[in-house]
């Protein structure tokens, strides 16, 4: 993956954490930073069925989920599956579609199913959504509602690359790299869908002891009591932290979770789930600062001597 996506190790790592934990990822960054390329690269290396939806203001819910279409030859309605019926879904510029269309993704992301005309249809497993959004443009955008944001396991900020990475990108293009053609010569699949599901199941067996569970609950609970926070993180955030920490532990070659795994993941899991008071926002507070403060203030299990 490094041959294609240059210099975004943290972004790649967190995206893979969400993938193997069975969650979804929201990538936020300016245009041209490789968000879409990352999604396509993952799809290619996984050999999954990949669909991409370019969200636009006129996108309809049925464009996402599909719908029943009248077949004149057979004189009946037939269901035409939308792009959501895939294994890896890229929702590009998700905040450009109206809330109604964004909501079409809610059920799919949370329950891996869609309900159309009263009929519930299961989605495939794995089902992994990568959504992107651009934080700097405000014209013609609809910010994702809190309920939708909560469905994303992590929100990953895609930073601008430093000069050295930019040089590497330029050199790669000079050497003939074409992001439009990620053929098998460049990126052979390393895992198929079944393999990914097996990996997801294996990760769930990573050991999590009560002190770590207590630490997660304490950390997330504190988001609801913080003076700057109007709406804290939900229990779904706790679950995301737990599952993500298991993946990080597995990536590190451990079969048990330690508090470091939770601390590493906490900013990405919590930042988009905190709604700050208006006064705090005026004071310049950001969710990232709140999370950092909570991490500084929450004792780790080892420091609780009696515990």
């Amino acid at each position: 993956m490094r041959r294609v996506v240059h210099g975004q190790p943290e972004v790649v790592r967190l995206t893979l954490v969400a993938l193997f934990a069975g969650g979804h990822v929201l990538l936020e960054g300016a245009p041209g930073l490789g968000k879409t390329l990352l999604a396509r690269t993952i799809a290619r290396t996984l050999g999954c069925r990949f669909q991409r939806i370019q969200f636009t203001p006129d996108l309809m819910p049925a464009d996402v989920t599909g719908g029943n279409v009248y077949n004149q030859a057979e004189h009946r309605f037939v269901f035409v599956a939308g792009p959501v019926f895939s294994e890896l879904l890229l929702a590009d510029e998700v905040n450009r579609a109206p809330a109604r269309t964004q909501a079409a993704l809610l059920e799919a992301m949370a329950d891996r199913q869609v309900t159309i005309d009263g009929t519930t249809r299961r989605l495939a497993r794995p089902f992994f959504t990568m959504a992107t959004q651009n934080p700097v443009e405000s014209e013609g955008t609809w910010p994702l509602p809190e309920a939708q944001l909560d469905r994303f396991m992590v929100k990953v900020l895609v930073p601008s690359p430093p000069k050295s990475v930019e040089v590497a990108i330029l050199n790669a293009h000079l050497a003939g790299f074409d992001p439009a053609s990620l053929d098998e010569q460049v990126l052979p699949p390393v895992l198929d869908s079944a393999g990914l599901v097996r990996a997801q199941d294996a990760v769930r067996r990573v050991r999590v002891e009560p002190p770590v569970i207590d630490y997660i609950a304490e950390l997330v609970g504190r988001t609801r009591a913080h003076r700057s926070v109007f709406l804290g993180a939900s229990p779904r955030a706790s679950v995301s932290l737990l599952l993500g920490a298991q993946v990080i532990a597995a990536c590190e070659g451990r079969n048990f979770v330690i508090p470091d795994d939770v601390k590493e993941l906490a900013p990405a899991v919590l930042r988009h789930r905190l709604l700050l008071h208006a006064e705090a926002e005026i004071d310049g507070a950001t969710p990232e600062e709140v999370v950092a403060e909570l991490l500084r203030d929450t004792p780790t299990p080892s420091s609780r001597t009696a515990g």
Partner: protein, 596 residues
């Protein structure tokens, strides 16, 4: 300018805890005695010690010229003077009279204490200590057991068969020991691996600690079982960590002053924090760090000065504290007349200085600096100038040639305290960053050099032992930084807002924030004057009339800050929000929350 930033009425400075030397009589060193002419209020023991010193001087016991008419009638008996700590001038013969025998006894006691700590670091808790005593109550620790206490508890737990608990206590022993010696910041949110990473420059300690933490990790998080052998290895490793600390700590103890004294700086940080000021620490000057208090001592260089000037030009306020201005300051209008130890003599006295409370400072003499026209001055009650402020670029240099202003005896004077807080905090660049090695625990080598000759010889031997033992590695104990790091401009403003909310006065903060916000807006917009408001409005998407009103109000602030009302708070926050919007607008690729 300092004078313009003054509040009309001085707020009562927050109370601070009185040091021991206020309450308990002790010998006064030469630096301490400077404060006898201006004793801190409510320090009866210090005044009695001053009186005793004067009496002793008058009787010709150990001192110079007798002072007439100021001696108290009843001298206070002074405690024994520790060797190498305080020696009153003229008393060298008396100390010499102790003879080599007494010195030998002291040496033997010191060596015995050293050997005892090295051999049995965990025995100091006593047999009666129980685990319950070591646990920290909900409201915070009542007692502060050191690493030895925790290790003793760990051993008792191991002996009782509570092996998991023994591991936990062994970890606590090592970490508390490192914290109490200043090798680690006390931080309960730190994970074990973060602790190990923090000891990267001390591989021996890190390796021992890894034995403890590795065992604990396997038991606590991996569901592993623990056997007695593992626990014994962990206890041994924790004991080694503490033993190593004991040697270094004892060395520092020998070299450090045996007691706090009026010329220490223990009250500086608590004073600022009590006033709501965030205090950070850094080892270098930074243009983005706002107000920086720099104690360069006598070893500053032209390069450091240029750095300070450059930081001021970028908008920082650098407070330089020192008596030796030997280096040349590359500023037009400021003349340093070589090394000296005295006060600033102004070329032109400006009005407005009377608004400052007269500082209570020790008497001084000498001329060092000629301040440029237009500088503001800070005066003491003798009318001497203690500090001057020079505008440099977007920021200020504040030269303080009376470092005694920052000493504990000075800070016990409420007026001095209020002036110091105003000088450092009410200039919109809070938090205050201390840029100084002198307020930290100095490295052991410096402490040795600073000690008396006898102790120096003794410590030289100990140094040699330590050197051999540690394989030549550096062992200098350092107080870890207070978690400080350079802050973003908005953090400074946030701190300002918090500060003057806490102080209940908004006028000074508003003036200062307005100035900083304007400077930053001009820099971000790339224009000034009349073109600023339209540019900012266009970039941020805010209504032009609103932006214009805000900018006009900010420009008028220094001359007419307006009544001290909640309007200031609104204005500050609005300006501040404008700056953050401009920063976002200027950095399309900067990560941040989506604000469509």
């Amino acid at each position: 300018m300092i004078a313009l930033l003054l509040p009309l009425a001085w707020a009562e400075p927050p109370p601070i805890e009185r040091p021991d030397w206020c309450e308990r009589a002790q010998a006064l060193g030469p630096d301490d005695r400077r404060w006898c002419s201006s004793p801190p209020p409510d320090c009866p023991a210090f005044e009695k010690a001053c009186a005793a010193t004067r009496t002793a001087s008058a009787s010709g016991g150990c001192g110079g010229e007798p002072e007439r008419g100021r001696a108290e009638p009843e001298p206070v008996p002074l405690p024994d003077v520790p060797v190498g700590v305080v020696a009153l001038p003229g008393c060298e013969a008396a100390i010499g009279g102790l003879g080599w025998g007494a010195l030998g006894v002291v040496l033997a006691l010191v060596v015995l204490a050293l050997l005892r700590r090295v051999a049995a670091p965990g025995d100091e808790a006593g047999e009666g200590g129980e685990l319950a005593r070591l646990e920290e109550p909900e409201g915070g620790p009542v007692v502060q057991p050191d690493g030895g206490d925790w290790l003793a508890a760990a051993r008792r737990a191991a002996d009782a068969g509570r092996l998991g608990e023994a591991l936990l206590l062994a970890r606590a022993a090592a970490v508390r020991g490192l914290e109490s010696r200043g090798r680690l910041d006390p931080d309960p949110s730190r994970t074990d691996r973060e602790v190990l990473r923090g000891l990267a420059n001390d591989p021996a300690t890190r390796d021992d600690l890894r034995v403890v933490m590795g065992a604990l990790e396997r038991v606590r998080y991996a569901g592993g079982s623990v056997d007695r052998g593992t626990v014994e290895r962990a206890l041994t490793a924790a004991a080694k960590v503490l033993a190593r600390l004991s040697v270094v700590g004892l060395l520092s103890l020998l070299a450090a002053p045996a007691h706090a004294s009026p010329n220490d700086h223990d009250l500086l940080v608590p004073t600022l924090r009590a006033a709501g000021v965030e205090v950070l620490e850094s080892d270098h000057i930074d243009a983005d760090a706002g107000t920086q208090l720099w104690f360069p001592g006598s070893s500053w260089t032209d390069a450091e000065l240029e750095l300070a000037v450059a930081a001021a030009e970028e908008g920082a306020t650098v407070v330089i504290v020192g008596t030796t201005f030997a280096a040349s300051l590359p500023l037009e209008g400021v003349v340093f007349t070589g090394a000296c130890s005295g006060v600033i003599r102004p070329v032109v006295w400006l009005g407005g200085v009377a608004a400052w409370p007269p500082l209570r400072l020790p008497p001084r003499s000498g001329t060092c600096v000629q301040a440029p026209l237009g500088s503001s001055l800070l005066l003491d009650e003798q009318g001497g100038a203690a500090a001057t402020e020079i505008a440099v670029g977007d920021g200020f240099l504040v030269l303080v040639t009376v470092p005694a202003l920052f000493e504990d005896a000075s800070l016990l004077h409420p007026d001095n305290r209020a002036a110091l807080v105003a000088l450092l905090a009410l200039k919109a660049e809070v938090p205050v960053t201390l840029v100084t090695p002198t307020l930290r625990t100095p490295p052991a080598t410096e402490q040795v050099m600073a000690a008396g000759f006898t102790v120096f010889i003794l410590q030289l031997g100990l140094l040699w032992v330590l050197w051999a033992w540690r394989g030549g590695r550096s062992f200098a104990p350092r107080v870890a930084p207070m978690g400080g790091q350079n802050r973003h401009f908005t953090d400074h403003l946030a701190a300002v807002a918090r500060f003057f909310r806490a102080r209940g006065s908004s006028e000074v903060g508003f003036v200062a924030v307005s100035r900083r916000a304007l400077l930053r807006l001009e820099r971000l917009a790339g224009v000034g004057g009349e073109a600023l408001a339209p540019r900012v409005a266009a970039r941020t998407g805010q209504p032009l009339d609103l932006v214009s009103r805000l900018i006009d109000r900010a420009r008028a602030a220094p001359d007419s800050p307006g009544a001290d009302t909640s309007e200031h708070l609104y204005l500050v926050e609005a300006l501040w929000k404008l700056v953050t919007l401009m920063q976002t607008a200027n950095s399309p690729h900067s990560p941040g929350p989506s604000k469509p």
